[in-house]
Symmetry: C2
Subunit: 419 residues, 2 copies
């Protein structure tokens, strides 16, 4: 699985719009890879028999849809045994936005159960003995395997950034509520954030702008190096040696390429919010899945059933306290960017773990989901097993373009360093 | 239609828990009124053949569910011609919470089309030539008519407080996101707020606490008079003479009963946010209903179709600017309560208009929905047509109990003044 096996959404869109390729031909781009590897990688929960091209800036671009988003024309199972044949009456808002921009739905991609931790069938394209990460497992793996040039997913803990890192693709978790979650099966409404996967930050920015009309596309002509703050915190003892070496190496290369790189120690008010993620998610999940827990407990995985049961001990006061802690931390986040444009830190403790029973640890993501800041995963290298190493670029709230632009600069800088 | 025709949720729950009445008997309480008046009032979009009692603090309490909330066992049409036979696969979170507390679903109640402005069939129980208000038309009218002791609805502009005022029932729009909207058909996700209707503030507080576990129930032993700020602003020239007289009369009575009553002039930073509601709703609605607009435009009312089309000219920048204006105003809201516990102001410009083609004006509600503050409508009198006059009590964000308690104090004070 090399970088070159990935499809570029932006290049495909350009080929189609300049009529060097028909949209129909473009949609065939992933077919060979799917035919060769789907039975092994299990990216799709539903693969349509035929893809029909749309019209617009995403004409010819096939987009994998994590199976927690409603689609009117494809079964939507939410990764649960409760809904094997469920067909929603309407598209989720984001699916509708993608179709309107001319994108074609590549299929529904495997999610963990209700986008929580119980893994689905997807394997890591770089080595099938390793997890692809979760919960957006199929979306990340499908982009990595060249099945489709772009995909959407959701992050409640670390479900965009972590699978992007483990699969070696670019992943973008936008500022909270920048993109609609209407028509998404919610797990924790204060945290659930939609996001995108593609071969590069520039590809992601193109797709996100095309479907939303937001000014997100990368400025290709800018060579301006970002001011980077390496975020250091109390959980850094969890960082693997490979990851730590990669972080240092990228910082050094960035400095050589003209970037200002400083170290930022996580302030107390922000670090205090690490403990707020669990009670917020834990209070909301049993309410979001109240119907499933009440009527179909036996069809939930034991792990999820136990979690939902245990979480019922979280009181409204616990929840309100956690929300207050999170709000204080959000205010403190402004100060993080006094001296830098973006933060840079590991997307996960290390590379993908060798297991299919877990999707890995989201501890490097939860805080940033809770803060609502835009995060972009970039692939910065490989470990000894040839598994991708991912770092995340984080910008201030609402400065999504800044995060994408800095991620693009780093991707270009690393590509130049390699060559 | 007298005040006495309404059913008290709290009294019913008490009768059942103390075994003076069975839950089954309690559920029959609204049946005579329904049989006598449903064909005239058109409260229900779906009326189940049989009601089954649950167990818990709401055992025997029938709750009307606005037909924008998903219910697994009843058709859910969202007030739209697109979904005449739609049966969701699961309950909305709030429906599930109510059932878990022992409540029985009284039926699905009429909503305007997608909870926007195109009216449904419901009439005002006080006079069928007048609108019941909207969009939670059936929920408010059903409580007023004694069909059920409690109901739930949603407010995006003024869809809880306005129909509560027009129908003469107590209505509660909680702090934004205090109760989950999971399983609600969204119109504008930054504004859509769930809420409750019942015969009194104490009844509402009982139901809201029973289903959420939040400390909201009225302290009956407290006789402490609230500090009341009469909120005056630039739109007060829209207030009808009847409404203005009622506001002055209530202020005078409250003062006599020991309340401190002052006047608060709407600060500039808050008043500036009045213009932010329209672009926020207008940007989000076409995304929320993107699927319906794309695939079933001919099944939308012309009014809604035109609105969704026109709104597509609202840019992400317009939207972001409006969100920033709203955020500044939210911060300024803290200062409103420096010298008072609650604000008091009209729930609508006047009483229900004599029309069935409109649900009235939400101008006195939009700002407070956008601010996310808890609002409670109380019925303070009648106009010359015997139509109810409603005022709203507003408390600081998260101080929902304070709003309910002050509303209760005013309701008790007015009942004493009448007798």
């Amino acid at each position: 699985m090399s970088k070159n096996s990935m499809l570029s959404a932006r290049s495909i869109a350009l080929e189609v719009s300049s009529k060097r390729m028909t949209a129909k031909q473009a949609l065939q781009a992933g077919q060979t890879a799917i035919d060769a590897a789907e039975s092994r990688l299990r990216v799709f929960s539903h693969l349509p028999k035929k893809l029909t091209a749309g019209k617009g800036p995403l004409s010819g671009v096939a987009v994998g849809i994590k199976d927690v988003f409603d689609t009117y024309d494809m079964p939507t199972g939410y990764g649960s045994k409760i809904y094997p044949l469920h067909k929603p009456v309407s598209d989720a808002a984001l699916v509708s936005m993608l179709r309107r921009a001319g994108a074609t739905i590549a299929g529904k991609t495997v999610t963990t159960e209700f986008a929580w931790f119980t893994p689905g069938a997807t394997r890591n394209p770089h080595n099938p003995a390793f997890t692809p990460g979760g919960s957006s497992s199929g979306s990340a793996a499908g982009v990595a395997a060249g099945f489709f040039p772009a995909a959407i997913g959701t992050q409640t803990g670390g479900s965009i950034i972590r699978p992007a890192a483990f699969c070696g693709v670019s992943g973008y978790k936008p500022s909270f509520r920048l993109f609609p979650t209407v028509g998404l099966k919610h797990f924790s409404w204060s945290l659930d954030t939609i996001g995108f996967f593609a071969a590069s930050a520039a590809d992601i920015a193109y797709v996100a702008q095309a479907c939303s009309g937001r000014d997100l596309a990368i400025n290709e002509s800018s060579r301006k190096a970002p001011n980077i703050g390496i975020y250091r915190s109390s959980i850094d003892d969890l960082i693997s040696p490979d990851m730590e070496a990669a972080l240092k190496s990228v910082a050094k290369l960035a400095r050589s390429a003209g970037a200002n790189v400083s170290t930022i120690r996580g302030p107390k008010a922000i670090e205090a919010a690490r403990g707020a993620h669990a009670p917020i998610q834990g209070y909301e999940a049993p309410l979001s899945l109240g119907d499933e827990y009440a009527r179909n407990p036996q069809k939930l995985s034991k792990k999820l059933r136990d979690y939902l049961k245990d979480c019922q001990s979280i009181t409204p006061d616990d929840y309100d306290n956690a929300r207050r802690t999170a709000n204080r931390a959000r205010k403190a986040c402004h100060g993080l960017f006094d001296k830098c444009d973006v933060l840079l830190l590991p997307s996960a403790p290390g590379t993908a773990p060798r297991t299919l029973k877990s999707t890995g640890n989201s501890i490097f993501n939860q805080l940033w989901t809770l803060m609502g800041l835009p995060c972009v995963n970039i692939c910065v290298g490989r470990d000894e097993n040839n598994l991708p190493i991912g770092l995340q670029v984080i910008a201030p709230f609402g400065k999504d373009k800044q995060a994408l632009q800095a991620a693009h600069w780093l991707e270009m800088m690393l590509a130049n360093a390699e060559s």
